[in-house]
C-alpha cells in the first residue's frame, strides 16, 4: 500500500509513490540517489543524516518522508551551485575539518543552521551547536576552526549564509502527520 509524497528537494519538486514507512533519509538516498546524506546510526545520535527542512536542521532518519509532504528540503548536494563552494564547505577544506569525510555532509548542514542562528559563535557555542553530530576522526578541533573560518568569511562575502538569527521553531511543528 503505497502513498504519494511530494517534496521540494534542492529546488526541484519530486513526486513519488513510496511505502509510508520509508524514512526521509532512505527516500533521499534510495529513491532519489542523493547519496551525499549519510546514515551512521539507528538511534538518531550521530547526525550524519542531517539535512535542512524548511530552513531547520533535521536528522533525516527521524522522519518518514510522507510526514513531510510539501516541505522544502536542502541536502549537501544543494548547498552551493554545482562547481561552487559555500563558505562552510570552504572552511572545512581550509581548516582540515574532515578526515574520512563520512560525518562531513551532516556536520556542514548543521553548521549552516548554527551560523544561521548565531553568525558569530564562540568556541563554546560552536561545541554546543554541533553536539548532535558525531565525528570519530577529527576530535572536533579542526571542525571548530572550520566553523570559525566560515563565520568570518561569510561576513566578508555577505552572501551564502543569512546573517539574521532565524526564529526558533518548535520541532513538533516540523513533523506533522499528513
Amino acid at each position: 500500500m503505497k502513498r504519494t509524497v511530494k517534496l521540494t528537494i534542492n529546488g526541484t519538486v519530486y513526486e513519488r509513490d513510496i511505502e509510508p514507512r520509508t524514512l526521509l533519509v532512505h527516500f533521499l538516498r534510495d529513491e532519489l540517489g542523493l547519496t551525499g546524506t549519510h546514515i551512521g546510526c539507528d538511534t538518531s545520535q550521530c547526525g550524519a543524516c542531517t539535512v535542512s527542512v524548511n530552513g531547520q536542521s533535521l536528522k533525516s532518519c527521524t522522519a518518514f518522508a510522507v510526514q513531510l509532504g510539501g516541505a522544502d528540503v536542502m541536502t549537501i548536494e544543494g548547498l552551493a551551485p554545482e562547481g561552487e563552494l559555500d563558505p562552510i564547505q570552504m572552511g572545512f577544506w581550509e581548516q582540515h575539518g574532515l578526515q574520512c569525510g563520512y560525518c562531513t555532509p551532516g556536520m556542514i548542514m548543521q553548521t549552516r543552521q548554527l551560523l544561521d542562528r548565531n553568525p558569530n559563535p564562540s568556541e563554546a557555542e560552536i561545541r554546543r551547536g554541533i553536539e548532535g553530530n558525531l565525528c570519530r576522526c577529527t576530535g572536533y578541533q579542526n571542525i571548530i576552526k572550520a566553523v570559525q573560518w566560515a563565520a568570518q568569511h561569510a561576513k566578508q562575502a555577505d552572501t551564502a549564509i543569512p546573517t539574521a538569527n532565524a526564529p526558533e521553531v518548535d520541532a513538533s511543528e516540523l513533523v506533522k502527520m499528513p
Partner: protein, 793 residues
C-alpha cells in the same frame, strides 16, 4: 608552489572537494541495477544450542529471494580465517553458526530480499528455537574453569599463552621497592561513523567475483576470501572505495563479507549488506578488554630494575583475523620508554561468550602504555619523587636500544620532547596552582604520559606470521603526468595528498600532475593495506624506491637524448642536464614523451617509464613524545574538566604537518574517550548493556578540550623518508595521561587507582563517601598479591 617545497608543507587535501560536496562514493552509495538486500538473523543469547530453525513464515514475505542457514552454507564455504600466533589452535568459526551460538549477535540465518525493508521483515519471522546455556563472561573465572567452556575442545578457555622477556626473579628478590597493581583496560567499540557495508557481484560466465567493501585491507581480504570461498584469487576483485573510518575494525575478514559473496553467487544478483549501528555494536570486533597484573622493582633513588606482567586478554568467542596478535603488540613494548635490565610479560588469551576482540586504534600498545605510565607515576608517588624526574632518570638514552623484549628501538630524544612539553605546559606553575587550589578545596590534578610506541608494520623478519612490506607502482605517462598505484588503502589519512607531495617534489613537477590510486586489487600492486601507523612509514618507503627506479631509467633516456653518459646526468628542479653544462638539458616531461615515442631509442632502451617496487623495512619505527594534562574534578558533580592538554609528539620527518595534527587530534580524542567515557558492558548473561550509541558514549564536541600541539623531529633510520607513524600515537598516549591527572587530583582521598571510564558517579563517590582501595576503585592489594605470590619482597 616551488618545486622541492611541498614535502613538509601543510597543503590542503585533494580528497576534500568530493567529500564536502556529497559527491564521494562510499559502498552504500552504490546500487547497481538489480541489487538485492541482505539482512542477518542474529542470536539474542550469549551462549545457546540451536535446536531448530524454521524459515517458512519468513519465506512468505513478498520479495524474499533466499534464506541461508549455517548447516547448508557449511557444505560449500569454509570457516573464517584467523592468524595463529605460534601455532595455537583456531576453533572453527563459520560465517553462519550451526548447532551452537557463542556470543550475542552471532549470525544464525541470512535473508535476501528485493528491498532493505522486506529483508528485515522476513528476518523477524525466522523462528529459531534456542536452548540457552550459562554465559561465560568474566575472563578470570573462565580461565579458572569455574564457568564452563566456550569451545568444548579447549580447556580453561585458554586460546593461547604468549611469553616474552627474560628472568625477573633476581630483580624482584633484590629490589629496594616493589609496587604492584591490577589495571583493567576496558572493552571498547571502535565505531567508525560509517558502519561496515558490503556489495558483492558475481558474474556468471567468467565466474568472477567483485566485492566492494568498507575495508582497510583489500589485497589481504582478496586472498582470504579466495581461501574461504574456494574461488581462485585471480577471479576475485576487491574494491575499497571511499571508506568512512576504520580504526582497526575494518582490518579483518568478516562473516558478512563471505555471506554476501555466497549469496551473490547463488542468486546471480548484486547483493548488498549494510550494517546498522546497533548491529555493529555486536557484529564488528571490539577492542582492548585486558586485565593486567603488573609489578615493578626499583631502587630507593628511583632506578627501575625489573618489570613483570601477567595479562588476561579477552579474545571473545572466536579468533578474528588478528585477535591473538594484539597481546603480542602489547607485550613487546611493555617496558615503555624506560631502560631496564629485566622484563617479563605473559599473556593468557581467554575465550568468553562475547564479540571477538581485535585491532582497535593502537592495538596492544595502548594497553602496554596505560599500565607502564600509570605504574611509573605510582612508583614516583611511593618514592616521594616527582613523576617527571623519575621518568627522566629511567629514559632510554642510547639508540639503537635493544630491549629485553626483543625490539631494537630505532631513534629517540625522549628528554627533549619532555622538556618542551613541560615548558609549554608551565609545569612548575601548574604544580603551584594545584597546591593553591587544594587549599581552597578544589581538586586539580596533573597527569603525564611519556609514551613510546612501536609501529610501521612491519619489518620483514619482525612479524609473527607473514613478511611485512608495502608496494608502489609509479607510471610516468606519455604526457608527463604521473599515476601512482599504492598498496596501502587510506580511509581518511590523506595519502592522496601527502603521497602526491612526495612524488611531485621528487620529480620537480606540479602536484596537480600527480594522482594517487588505491584500494582496488585490479589496478594496485599487492599491498598490506592501512593499519598500524604504516601508511607513510612503509608505503612511503615503497614510493621512494619506485621514484628512484623511475629516475634511474629517466637518466638513461636523458643521456641518450643529450648524447652524454648516464653517470654524467644530474636531475634538478624537474630538469635532467649534463653535469657541468646546465644548458644541455631536457625536462622531466620531455623524457616521458621520448620514453614512449622516440623510435631512435628502439634498439637501446625498452619503451615506457614505469616502476614497481616493494619496500620491506629492516625495523619498526618508534614514535614517542610527552603529553601533559591538567584536570579539575567538580566536587559537587564528580565531573572531570580538562583544563589544559599539551601534546609534544615526535613522528620523525613530517610530510604534511596539517595531516599530522589531524591524526593527533583524533587519536587524543579516542584515548581520552577511553579514560573518561566509553565502555562496552556485558551483563552476566552475555547481554550487551551498551548496545546502541545511546548507551555507548562516543564523545561529542561539548565534552572535549582544545588541544595544544607541538613536536620534536627525530628522523627514523628505518625508512627512506625518515618518518615514524602518527595515526595511533595520540590514542596510545592520552589514556594514561588523563587517568594519571584524575588520580593525582584525588590523591587527598588516598587512592592509587580508579577503574576506567572515569565517569562522574565514580569520582563523586570517592569525594563524598571517602571510598578507599578495594571498594570498586582499583583492586585490593590482597588480590594483586595472590597473583604474584610472595617472592616479591
Amino acid at each position: 608552489m616551488a618545486p622541492n617545497a611541498m614535502i613538509g608543507s601543510p597543503i590542503k587535501r585533494r580528497e576534500d572537494p568530493r567529500l564536502i560536496t556529497g559527491h564521494a562514493t562510499y559502498t552504500d552509495d552504490m546500487t547497481p541495477a538489480g541489487t538485492v538486500y541482505l539482512h542477518m538473523v542474529r542470536s539474542p543469547h550469549g551462549h545457546a544450542n540451536i535446536k531448530s530453525i524454521n524459515v517458512d513464515a519468513a519465506h512468505k514475505i513478498p520479495g524474499v529471494l533466499a534464506i541461508f542457514t549455517g548447516d547448508e552454507m557449511k557444505k560449500e564455504v569454509g570457516p573464517l580465517a584467523a592468524v595463529s600466533v605460534g601455532g595455537h589452535p583456531i576453533p572453527d568459526h563459520f560465517s553462519i553458526a550451526s548447532g551452537k551460538v557463542r556470543c550475542l549477535g552471532e549470525i544464525v540465518a541470512a535473508v535476501v530480499a528485493d528491498s532493505r525493508y522486506h529483508a528485515r521483515d522476513a528476518a523477524e519471522l525466522v523462528e529459531v528455537d534456542y536452548e540457552p546455556l550459562p554465559a561465560i563472561i568474566d575472563m578470570e573465572k573462565a580461565y579458572k574453569g569455574e564457568s564452563g567452556l566456550v569451545h568444548d575442545s579447549i580447556p580453561n578457555n585458554l586460546a593461547a599463552t604468549l611469553e616474552f622477556g627474560n628472568d625477573v626473579t633476581d630483580a624482584f628478590k633484590n629490589a629496594e621497592i616493589v609496587v604492584e597493581q591490577r589495571y583493567v583496560n576496558q572493552r571498547m567499540a571502535p565505531n567508525p561513523i560509517e558502519n561496515r557495508v558490503v556489495l558483492a557481484q558475481f558474474r556468471t560466465g567468467d565466474e568472477s567475483l567483485l566485492i566492494t567493501t568498507s575495508t582497510q585491507i583489500p589485497h589481504i581480504l582478496r586472498t582470504l576470501l579466495s581461501g574461504v570461498l574456494s574461488i581462485p584469487e585471480h577471479l576475485i576483485r576487491v574494491v575499497a572505495p571511499e571508506v568512512g573510518g576504520g580504526f582497526g575494525c575494518k582490518l579483518n575478514i568478516y562473516a558478512e563479507e563471505v555471506i554476501a559473496c555466497y549469496a551473490a553467487k547463488k542468486l546471480g544478483k548484486p547483493v548488498k549488506w549494510t550494517e546498522t549501528r546497533s548491529e555493529g555494536m555486536v557484529a564488528t570486533i571490539h577492542g582492548r578488554d585486558q586485565i593486567d597484573y603488573i609489578r615493578i622493582a626499583a631502587t630507593k633513588d628511583g632506578m627501575i630494575t625489573g618489570l613483570d606482567i601477567t595479562a588476561y586478554c579477552n579474545m571473545g568467542a572466536y579468533l578474528q583475523l588478528l585477535s591473538s596478535s594484539i597481546p603480542v603488540l602489547c607485550g613487546v613494548i611493555c617496558n615503555g620508554a624506560y631502560a631496564m635490565p629485566a622484563v617479563h610479560f605473559k599473556a593468557l588469551c581467554i575465550y568468553t561468550n562475547t564479540t571477538p576482540t581485535d585491532a582497535y586504534r593502537g592495538a596492544g600498545r595502548p594497553e602496554a602504555t596505560y599500565m607502564i605510565e600509570r605504574l611509573v607515576t605510582l612508583l614516583a608517588h611511593r618514592l616521594g619523587m616527582d613523576p617527571m624526574e623519575l621518568r627522566r632518570k629511567n629514559f632510554i638514552k642510547d639508540f639503537p636500544y635493544a630491549s629485553p623484549l626483543g625490539l631494537m628501538f630505532d631513534s629517540g630524544n625522549y628528554a627533549t620532547a619532555m622538556d618542551k612539553a613541560m615548558e609549554i605546559f608551565g609545569y612548575d606553575e601548574m604544580r603551584k596552582m594545584q597546591a593553591d587550589a587544594l587549599k581552597e578545596g578544589r581538586y586539580i590534578g596533573i597527569g603525564q604520559s611519556t609514551y613510546v610506541e612501536v609501529c610501521g608494520l612491519g619489518p620483514g623478519q619482525g612479524m609473527t606470521t607473514a613478511r611485512g612490506y608495502e608496494c608502489a607502482t609509479i607510471r610516468a605517462e606519455l604526457t608527463g603526468k604521473v599515476t601512482v598505484f599504492t598498496g596501502i588503502s587510506p580511509h581518511g589519512q590523506g595519502q592522496e595528498t601527502s603521497f602526491a607531495q612526495i612524488v611531485a617534489d621528487n620529480f620537480g613537477i606540479p602536484m596537480e600532475d600527480v594522482i594517487i590510486k588505491h584500494g582496488d586489487t585490479e589496478n594496485t600492486p599487492y599491498g598490506m593495506g592501512t593499519y598500524g601507523s604504516r601508511g607513510t612509514a612503509v608505503g612511503g618507503g615503497a614510493l621512494m624506491l619506485a621514484v628512484d627506479s623511475i629516475k634511474e631509467k629517466a637518466k638513461k633516456i636523458a643521456a641518450f637524448q643529450l648524447e652524454a653518459n648516464a653517470e654524467d646526468i644530474v636531475f634538478e628542479d624537474g630538469k635532467f642536464s649534463v653535469s657541468g653544462t646546465p644548458s644541455r638539458s631536457i625536462t622531466f616531461q620531455e623524457v616521458c614523451l621520448k620514453a614512449y615515442v622516440d623510435p631512435k631509442m628502439a634498439p637501446v632502451i625498452e619503451p615506457g617509464l614505469e616502476a614497481t617496487r616493494y619496500f620491506e623495512p629492516g625495523n619498526f619505527v618508534f614514535p614517542f613524545g610527552t603529553h601533559l594534562c591538567a584536570t579539575e574534578i567538580d566536587a559537587d558533580t564528580g565531573d572531570v574538566k580538562i583544563l589544559k592538554y599539551i601534546a609534544v609528539d615526535d613522528c620523525g620527518n613530517q610530510i604534511n604537518p596539517m595531516l599530522v595534527a589531524g591524526q593527533v587530534h583524533g587519536g587524543l580524542t579516542q584515548g581520552i574517550a577511553q579514560a573518561l567515557f566509553e565502555e562496552v558492558v556485558y551483563d552476566e548473561n552475555g547481554q550487551l548493556i551498551s548496545g546502541t550509541l545511546m548507551d555507548y558514549t562516543v564523545p561529542t564536541a561539548s565534552e572535549l578540550p582544545f588541544y595544544t600541539l607541538d613536536h620534536t623531529t627525530t628522523p627514523s633510520p628505518s625508512n627512506p623518508l625518515g618518518v615514524k607513524g602518527i595515526g595511533e600515537a595520540g590514542t596510545i598516549a592520552s589514556t594514561p595521561c588523563v587517568v594519571n591527572a584524575v588520580v593525582d587530583a584525588l590523591r587527598p582521598f588516598n587512592i592509587d587507582d580508579i577503574q576506567m571510564p572515569l565517569r562522574p558517579e565514580k569520582l563523586w563517590k570517592i569525594i563524598h563517601q571517602g571510598t578507599q582501595n578495594g571498594n570498586g576503585h582499583g583492586a585490593a592489594q590482597s588480590v594483586v598479591q595472590q597473583h604474584f605470590g610472595d617472592d616479591n619482597k
